[in-house]
């Protein structure tokens, strides 16, 4: 019935006979819904490129200012100190692996870090590991989120292979990630006084609140023959073991930083910070590097120029393109909608 109305009287009838829904459905089936048909004209092209230039260059500059020191008032200061080689005593440097595995040798070591620029609190302390594949599939999968939340109540730890149990008793927290917990420790001393390091709130709040159980205590951890990384205090529930929580957020790339703590005092230019560290963690067997990083942060996070450079580059290219197209448009202007460009009007067309 409807069809007949449509076919005889077309749109007009529909408009009268029925409501908006039917009309728009009719328009849909006839493929004549109102549509916007943008056509890329030279004017638009130039405008778009100009716009991009105008947006990206300032954004890039602002970004650079936030992270980089070249611009006058830099915001982010970063001090990086690689200590993995220097902290091994000279005689042991030939065989660093046996040095690090020898528990009888004390592993303390002192480093001096000179502040070359004023650092405003909070100053974030990171340890950086290079060539450490925390994103290896075997490694990443070797954990049990349910066990972290429920502790020993959760029995199925098969996902934690190969570190799931020891002496037929389950390990809490199980898995390779926890087992290989980073265990270097750092103490910071400025001008003879200890710089207090705040090691709270270094992990995600949701991780502490919902992923790591408040009543789950480490159990049977690092009791086996093979001891990987750090040990955990069995008195403290997992939700408060922030080192572990940070460590268990596996990094995406083989070179990564992890937050160690915050110094909540400003550091002045030419301050020298003495770092007393325990060089426990074995990166020597696989040639990994260990670095200690002190860094302030801006609204954009740490010191990273890539974004700023990219923005400026894109902005400049856009401006250049805008100019090129403008020149081309002036010189070789193609009349808009010119029929002579249609193939059947060109002579070469053969049909």
């Amino acid at each position: 019935m409807c069809r007949r109305i449509f076919s005889t009287c077309g749109v007009a009838a529909v408009r009268i006979v029925s409501g908006k829904m039917v009309l728009s459905f009719y328009l849909f089936t006839q493929q004549s819904l109102p549509a916007c048909k943008p056509v890329l004209t030279p004017g638009w092209v130039i405008a778009i490129f100009l716009f991009m230039g105008v947006i990206f260059i300032p954004v890039g500059l602002v970004t650079l200012r936030a992270s980089h020191c070249v611009i006058i008032h830099s915001m982010v200061v970063e001090i990086v100190d690689r200590y993995d080689i220097d902290c091994v005593p000279e005689p042991s440097r030939m065989d660093k692996v046996s040095y690090i595995q020898d528990d009888s040798i004390p592993k303390n070591c002192s480093r001096f870090m000179k502040v070359h620029k004023y650092m405003k609190a909070p100053i974030y302390i990171y340890y950086q590991l290079d060539n450490y594949y925390q994103n290896h599939r075997r490694y990443v999968k070797s954990r049990s989120d349910k066990q972290l939340l429920d502790g020993q109540k959760y029995h199925d730890t098969s996902s934690c292979q190969p570190v799931e149990s020891n002496n037929n008793r389950p390990i809490v927290p199980c898995g390779l990630i926890a087992w290989s917990l980073f265990n270097d420790t750092f103490e910071f001393i400025r001008e003879g006084a200890e710089l207090k390091v705040n090691r709270k709130n270094i992990a995600w709040k949701s991780d502490r609140g919902h992923k790591f159980g408040k009543n789950v205590y480490p159990f049977n951890f690092q009791n086996g023959t093979l001891i990987g990384g750090g040990k955990l205090n069995p008195e403290i529930p997992l939700s408060d073991q922030e080192d572990l929580i940070v460590w268990m957020r596996t990094s995406a790339l083989p070179s990564f930083r992890k937050l160690y703590g915050r110094i909540e005092k400003d550091l002045d230019v030419d301050d020298v910070v003495v770092v007393n560290l325990m060089n426990n963690y074995n990166t020597y067997s696989f040639g990994g590097k260990k670095k200690l990083v002190l860094s302030t942060s801006s609204w954009l996070g740490g010191k990273n120029d890539f974004l700023g450079h990219a923005c400026v580059f894109v902005g400049c290219s856009s401006l250049t393109l805008a100019i090129i197209f403008m020149l081309l448009h002036v010189k070789y202007r193609r009349p808009y909608g010119d029929m002579s460009f249609l193939p059947w009007n060109r002579k070469s067309f053969s049909g």
């Binding site: 004549s32 390779l176 995406a252 992890k258 996070g301 909608g337 193939p343």
Partner: protein, 1258 residues
């Protein structure tokens, strides 16, 4: 012995007698018949049918199938295995099946659900579609199977029985107008002589009725009661697909009679002109010849889809390549570095050797087993194959299916493609070929029922040298309008040859009325009621005005020929409101003559065996009188004689021979005193032929009684002759009497074209399509239609390929081949010589010549010639040849062909062509059933191809390319990440992100693009048919484009991945010092991908309705919503993605800035590409889009420039209406010039002018 030979002779005599009545079938020669008799009982001829005893056929060995017919592909049991098999024949599906199986053995990097669910979804949807299509087939079968027919049960009682319940041996009664339920043996008919008429249009497309005749022995069985005791046994051939043969005999009342095809009524043909027949079911269900003849329609795939397979192969090789790289890299790491990574607790190479067996067996991580690195690498390879599976777009197939179904729906719903008359609209019967519609290069068209309505209209006649019904034709009209548009209005008139002066009013038309509708409206404007088959307007003849004319005798004779020289019969009308009769005859031409003569006052009212009664207008009494004419002889029409005559005597005893026939035949038989009108008539003939009208010449002679008597004896003798020489004798006899004729005039009937056919052909020609006409009709008719459809015109050089008489008579294949080859070569030479000139060529070839021309060694030459001709007309071709031509053309040219037809004779062609189109307006359904698209009218082909085809083509190609892009862009980021994880197979993204990618986050915009994208609107498509050429030239789906899109994907993935890892690592990403872990990086990268691919599709789209906006921007929004919801789920479920947006990346300005930057940069290469292309190398659609934009500001129709440009854009075509108009304009101009000249001359030559010029006063 004696008895048997006498019986044989008896049989022979009976046969000959039969033949004298029905000339339709060549009788079996006695030799053939003997052979047939010997065949019975041999293998292949073993069928036994017990007539009227169907119960005997319930048990072996005479068990034959019921009359049930099934055309479905699957049944309930076979559906699952077969449909699954069909699905997994697709490479991609099979790959995903393997991936799903591997996932069961924990080999896969993803969870099982995320691998199996999409596969089940994709395969499920495809299978659902198959099931629905098959269900429709089943319903159609049900409809046919549940028709009823009167069937004899016992004691002469006939009851309605369903077709499917019929059994071999059943006696059925079929009434007039009904279809035969199965192959029947004709026992008797409602006519006394046991004759019945059958329409076989559904079987072979021939429109004339066929005569079938029962055996004399069974003639008496014409009452229901007779069948209570009827019993007979038929021995005949086994079921076979041969429509024209039937061998068998019937044992009836202890005598055996031979059977022939003329007793066999085939399923799918229809009873006409006969009240009822009785028949016995011989073949039922799938044994019937019609069903055996039908081939299952092949599943067709479009070019784009075939090319898509190649793309899939490319992607597969990419997949295998990156997987190899991955597994090789993993092997290297495993052998060299990985054992040193103590944090992985891999067993040390050396230690493993020391470990006892139990320990090494316990070691279960097979992917990283340093003791078996090669095995591990192998496993890694398999894992990588699955991991990078995102390179293969799994949802591509399902998206395409969805899009195509929606496209189909939109095509079906198009109001412009709805026919008010038949209340039918276009039906896309398969959704596979939508985009193929946009790539058609060649149309092979049937004639009857497709281009023409199979309805003859009496249009013009020329009586005694005066042309009547001379109306201006469409071409004249259009030409004058075009001239008017080009030049200043110029008034002139053409003296019509009949003396009546008609001025050309159309010159007053303005440009605005330059449209097909207008011509039609003007042309079909009729005064008074429309009479079917009679489209003649001339006041001098109608309403009996002819009595005031001169040459009254010739005019009356002319009408008498029209009313008497035919084989038709009047039908009794049920309602006697009017005194007009309707007629039925073997050909529609004759019907139109009868109707016309009735209109002129010569009503043919009755016919008996030897008498014809006319209601004539008597001139002397000025009253209508009934006159009886005694029918003395009827010299039948045959294709070789090309004429037909009747010899009648009127009430005064005068004997006339009334003759009608092809003009050439009649003209050579005229008496010297009968050529009075020859010259004028010839002129009219040529003008009629130019308009595509079919002409027949009428002539008569009076015969002296004595001459008749002597001739009649010869003729009767000839008729009584038995044997092959009979025909020759008859022809000779006819020859002697059909001479010294007196020409009366010619009639022109129009094989009425369907509405809008010439305009449609014109548009299609402008779109660059080639149109071939394949018809089973005779050459003259085909050429007429060629003219009417503007496929041929007078200034076209025509080649006629046909067998010369010598070659044909020799019947030597070699001779015929040489003959044809010679013709082809000479024609081709001419084509080559004149190619530079504008003159187009037309090729006309008939069936016999075609049969030779299509043989192996000649066909290449033939096709070469044919392809070079602007139009090709093949006449007298059999259904098989139609299919063969289609296949050869398809193979030889490699172009996409579309075959369109309406009858069962076109089924082969429809199935063979890339796209088969059936005309659904007619009664027969075979063509529609076999077709991919069904149209109610031929003219809809224009919109179907030029609008929908074009749209679907560019939609689908855009969609597929985008799909490839999107999956490459996404899949490669997975691979790049592998490089940073020591090829361990870790995935950057959460499983659920990955699953969502193809299913939710990027699917809707693609579907919206595939369904709603329009490069230009439908009006503009129709105004610029040349835009269609994009499809055949395949500009949107060329290899360069495909490679370009793959590269674009590679670039995008690189930009996205590198920007993310360099910006986010290793420093903090937020002010509070947090660094990005694997999940933050994953979510950020994924956000960039979602933005990029969705913005990319926004760049591709050129037609934004709210649906596109909603789907594109909605998809992006959906991603954030998903991330929010997923992050809010308890960590047990969401894992590390817990609160990732809210707590991790969301608060970081860096995250949002990365998104903006990455999207802009990754789209930049494509953007620059399209800017350059649009600005400096624009494509057709770009320019037309610009024009559309430009002129939108003004009113499109009023803009003079628009009209001019549009006209310019019409390619100068070689065929079609426009081309004809062009030619006509040329000739008009010449006429004008001449006329001016002659006026000038006449003025200058006139004495007044002279006197003026020479007068001393000036």
């Amino acid at each position: 012995m004696v008895a048997e030979s006498s019986r044989k002779r008896k049989g022979k005599i009976r046969w000959s007698k039969l033949y004298s009545f029905a000339a339709c079938f060549r009788p079996l020669t006695s030799k053939d018949r003997l052979a047939a008799r010997e065949l019975i009982g041999q293998p292949g001829f073993s069928r036994v049918v017990f007539c009227n005893e169907p119960h005997l056929h319930k048990r072996k060995p005479y068990k034959y199938p019921y009359n049930y017919i099934s055309t479905t592909k699957y049944n309930v049991l076979t559906f699952l295995p077969r449909a699954l098999f069909e699905q997994f024949r697709r490479v991609a599906n099979f790959y995903f099946l393997l991936a799903a199986i591997f996932s069961l053995f924990s080999l896969a990097p993803f969870s099982r659900a995320s691998l199996i669910a999409p596969l089940v979804f994709v395969v499920g949807i495809s299978m659902l579609k198959e099931a629905v299509e098959d269900w429709h087939r089943f319903l159609q079968d049900l409809d046919v199977n549940n028709r009823t027919v009167k069937t004899h049960i016992s004691n002469g009682v006939f009851v309605d029985k369903l077709w499917k319940e019929l059994r071999v041996g059943d006696v059925v009664k079929v009434n007039k107008g009904e279809y035969f339920p199965s192959d029947l043996l004709l026992l008797s008919s409602g006519n006394e002589d046991g004759v019945c008429y059958v329409e076989t249009m559904n079987l072979d497309g021939e429109t004339n009725l066929k005569i079938k005749r029962c055996l004399e022995a069974s003639l008496c069985l014409n009452e229901d009661e007779e069948f209570s005791k009827f019993k007979a046994t038929v021995h005949c051939e086994d079921p076979n697909p041969n429509l024209y043969t039937f061998v068998g005999n019937i044992e009836f009342e202890k005598e055996s009679y031979p059977l022939s095809p003329s007793q066999l009524l085939l399923r799918d043909s229809k009873l006409r002109n006969t009240d009822y027949i009785y028949g016995v079911v011989i073949f039922s269900g799938h044994d019937t010849k019609a069903v055996r003849n039908s081939t299952r329609s092949p599943s067709k795939r479009s070019r784009i889809e075939r090319k898509m397979d190649h793309i899939i192969y490319i992607l597969f090789s990419m997949l295998v390549l990156v997987s190899l790289v991955s597994s090789f890299g993993s092997l290297l790491y495993l052998r060299q570095d990985m054992v040193d990574w103590w944090y992985l607790q891999l067993p040390d190479d050396n230690k493993v050797n020391d470990l006892d067996d139990s320990n090494s067996e316990k070691y279960d991580d097979r992917f990283f087993n340093p003791s078996k690195p090669v095995q591990s690498a192998g496993l890694q390879f398999i894992r990588a194959l699955i991991l990078y599976g995102y390179l293969i777009p799994i949802s591509l197939y399902v998206s395409i299916e969805v899009v195509k179904v929606l496209q189909t729906m939109l095509i079906n719903k198009d109001i412009e493609l709805y026919d008010d008359v038949t209340c039918k609209s276009v039906q896309a019967r398969t959704s596979n070929l939508n985009e193929e519609l946009g790539q058609v290069e060649m149309i092979l068209s049937d004639k009857t029922g497709t281009l023409t309505c199979n309805q003859m209209e009496f249009r013009k006649c020329s009586i005694a040298g005066v042309s009547y019904g001379g109306d201006i034709t469409e071409v004249d009209l259009a030409a004058s309008m075009r001239m008017n548009a080009d030049f200043e209005p110029f008034e002139f008139s053409i003296d019509e040859t009949d003396g009546a002066t008609r001025s050309f009013e159309p010159f007053e038309f303005s440009v605005s009325s330059f449209s097909a509708q207008n011509w039609n409206a003007r042309l079909t404007k009729t005064e008074g009621p429309v009479i079917k088959g009679f489209n003649f307007r001339d006041d001098r003849l109608t309403n009996k005005n002819w009595i005031h004319g001169s040459n009254l005798f010739d005019i009356t004779m002319f009408f008498r020929v029209m009313a008497l020289c035919h084989t038709g019969i009047p039908l009794e009308d049920d309602n006697h409101k009017t005194d007009k009769l309707s007629y039925e005859a073997e050909s529609p031409e004759e019907v139109s003559f009868l109707i016309a003569s009735q209109e002129f006052g010569f009503q043919f009212c009755r016919r008996t065996q030897s008498l014809m009664v006319l209601k004539e207008f008597d001139l002397s009494s000025m009253k209508e009188v009934e006159r009886e004419y005694k029918l003395l002889n009827l010299l039948e029409f045959s294709s070789s004689r090309k004429r037909m005559s009747v010899i009648v005597s009127n009430e005064d005893g005068q004997i006339f021979l009334l003759c009608k026939g092809a003009d050439s035949i009649i003209f050579e038989r005229l008496a010297d005193n009968g050529r009075a009108y020859e010259q004028a008539t010839t002129m009219h003939l040529s003008s009629y032929a130019e308009d595509g009208l079919r002409t027949l010449a009428f002539a008569y002679r009076t015969i002296e009684a004595a001459e008749y008597e002597s001739w009649n004896t010869i003729f009767t003798q000839a008729k009584a002759t038995i044997g092959p020489e009979r025909e020759e004798l008859l022809e000779q006899a006819s020859e002697t009497i059909e001479k010294d004729l007196i020409l009366l005039g010619v009639v022109a009937v129009e094989d009425k074209l369907q509405k809008g056919v010439p305009e449609c052909i014109d548009k299609l020609a402008q779109a660059g399509l080639k149109i071939w006409l394949l018809t089973g009709d005779k050459r003259e008719t085909a050429i007429n239609i060629g003219f009417a459809c503007s496929l041929l015109r007078q200034d076209m050089k025509q080649f006629h390929l046909s067998l010369s008489r010598d070659a044909e008579s020799n019947n030597q294949v070699k001779d015929m081949k040489e003959d044809i080859l010679q013709q082809i070569e000479s024609s081709y030479k001419m084509v080559c010589e004149e190619r530079n000139k504008e003159a187009p060529f037309g090729l006309v070839i008939d069936g016999k010549a075609l049969e030779i021309a299509l043989r192996g060694d000649v066909k290449d030459e033939f096709l070469q010639l044919a392809v070079n001709c602007a139009s090709v007309i093949c006449c007298r071709v059999s259904p098989k040849q139609k299919a063969l031509i289609t296949r050869l053309v398809k193979q030889y040219t490699g172009k996409t062909t579309l075959a369109i037809g309406d009858g069962a004779n076109d089924v082969g062609m429809i199935q063979e062509a890339d796209i088969g189109v059936g005309i659904s307006g007619m009664e027969g359904m075979q063509a529609v059933m076999a077709s991919d698209f069904s149209l109610p009218q031929f003219r809809f082909l224009e919109r179907l191809l030029i609008v929908h085809g074009h749209w679907c083509y560019q939609r689908l190609s855009k969609m597929v390319l985008y799909f490839v892009y999107k999956n490459v862009a996404f899949g490669l980021t997975l691979f790049y990440y592998e490089l940073y994880t020591s090829f361990s197979g870790e995935v950057l993204y959460d499983d659920w992100y990955m699953t969502m990618f193809n299913v939710m986050l990027t699917s809707l915009p693609v579907i919206a693009l595939g369904v709603l994208e329009q490069d230009v609107s439908s009006d503009i498509c129709l105004q610029f048919p040349a835009l269609y050429q994009q499809g055949p030239r395949n500009v949107h789906f060329s290899w360069s484009r495909i490679i370009g899109w793959i590269l674009n994907g590679v670039v995008s993935s690189l930009v996205i991945f590198l920007a993310n890892i360099y910006i986010l690592s290793p420093t903090a990403m937020r002010e509070n010092g947090f660094v990005a872990d694997i999940d933050s990086l994953g979510a950020t990268t994924y956000t960039c991908i979602i933005w990029t691919v969705n913005c990319q599709i926004a760049l591709i789209t050129s037609h934004f309705t709210w649906i596109q906006h909603l789907s594109i921007w909605g998809s992006i929004l959906l991603w954030y919503i998903f991330l929010l919801v997923y992050g809010a789920l308890p960590p047990n479920f969401s894992g590390n993605a817990f609160q990732v947006l809210v707590e991790g990346i969301g608060p970081a300005p860096l995250y949002w800035m990365i998104t903006v930057l990455v999207v802009v940069v990754s789209l930049l290469p494509y953007f620059i590409h399209i800017v350059i292309q649009r600005s400096y190398f624009p494509m057709d659609d770009h320019i037309i889009q610009e024009m559309e934009q430009c002129y939108k500001k003004y009113d499109v129709r009023d803009n003079e420039m628009w009209v001019r440009e549009q006209r310019n854009s019409q390619r100068s075509t070689r065929i079609g209406f426009s081309a004809r108009v062009d030619a006509k304009i040329l000739s008009f101009n010449q006429q004008l010039q001449q006329k001016k000249l002659s006026i000038y001359r006449s003025v200058t030559n006139s004495p007044i002018y002279r006197s003026i010029t020479t007068s001393p006063f000036s």
